[in-house]
């Protein structure tokens, strides 16, 4: 992993701002504020991993219950990530939001989640072991 410098922080915050811009535009352009749910989904997506990695001892290989708790956290993280993509599609299919708003909120949500993931990859490296 390359050293996370000032340029990384600037680029990450820029991408985060673009993501929020896309999501807020997708709401405000059409005066329908359902796509804001996407932001909340992506913010709670890493939380199961954090909680379950606190609960489990990953060095414990004899009793595999620790690995089971870790797997539960991963399962729910995968669930929430797909939820962020599936929610605008469901809303657009039911004619609650427009298709343009769906595309903008999906792209914006992916940018926000990518920022969260790469931020934790760059700056929480020492917790891996």
């Amino acid at each position: 992993m390359p050293a996370a410098g000032l340029k990384t922080i600037i680029a990450l915050s820029f991408v985060l701002a673009v993501g929020f811009l896309l999501v807020i535009l997708s709401c405000a352009l059409f005066k329908v504020y359902y796509p804001l749910l996407v932001v909340g989904t992506y913010i709670i997506a890493p939380i199961p991993n954090w909680i379950c990695s606190r609960c489990a001892n990953p060095d414990d290989f004899v009793e595999s219950s620790g690995a089971a708790v870790l797997d539960l956290g991963r399962f729910f993280t995968g669930f929430f990530v797909v939820m962020g993509m599936a929610l605008p599609i469901v809303l657009a299919h039911a004619d609650l939001i427009r298709v343009e708003a769906m595309i903008m909120s999906i792209v914006g949500g992916l940018l926000i989640y990518g920022t969260i993931i790469s931020f934790s990859m760059f700056f929480h490296e020492e917790q891996e072991f």
């Binding site: 290989f61 797997d71 797909v82």
Partner: protein, 171 residues
């Protein structure tokens, strides 16, 4: 290890890595989310203004998904190592037998959910002759139950990968 192998083709090496196991668990969660949101999509579409027909998604349509999810929860909660532990000294009295009964109940719930999805599709949508935009609610029901089954298969396989991995590490 290599001598008591049954199949001609051995498992590739990369399948035993931590990376493959984590990817399997993540994608199981993703598949389950797709299943849930396909079903939710049919319910939301049923209540929306696009649904011109008289057919609506009721609690009956959700029952197959509930049973499939229950079966998936039961199957993946059982400790897989207890299945092969048949001797008394290794696992106590009859743990393998209990594990088989519980697993049977779980697979029965999963298969019952799938069969229920097909039943709802046939009895509610095909037999009354519902036309295409409303027929998609029934198709989504079948698809979501199949996806729950697929998700539990992926989770099962990746948990077995994890056992192999920890076994290799403890040697």
């Amino acid at each position: 290890m290599e001598e008591d192998r049954l199949w001609k083709f051995s498992k590739p090496e990369w399948l035993n890595s931590v990376w493959a196991r984590n990817t399997g668990v993540y994608s199981a969660g993703a598949l389950f989310a797709v299943a849930f949101y396909v079903m939710l999509d049919s319910a939301v579409w049923s209540g929306s203004s696009r649904n011109a027909s008289d057919v609506h998604v009721k609690f009956v349509d959700w029952l197959p998904l509930i049973f499939s999810s229950l079966g998936m929860l039961i199957i993946n909660s059982v400790e897989k190592q207890r299945l092969s532990a048949d001797s008394f000294s290794y696992s106590g009295s009859g743990v393998a037998w209990k594990a088989r009964v519980v697993l049977f109940l779980g697979f029965a719930a999963l298969a019952g959910g799938m069969a229920g999805g097909v039943t709802v599709f046939v009895l509610k949508f095909v037999v009354p002759g519902v036309q295409m935009p409303a027929l998609s609610m029934g198709i989504e029901n079948v698809v979501s139950n199949a996806l729950v089954g697929l998700s539990s298969v992926v989770l099962w396989v990746s948990q077995n990968m994890e056992d192999e991995y920890s076994y290799n590490l403890s040697l």
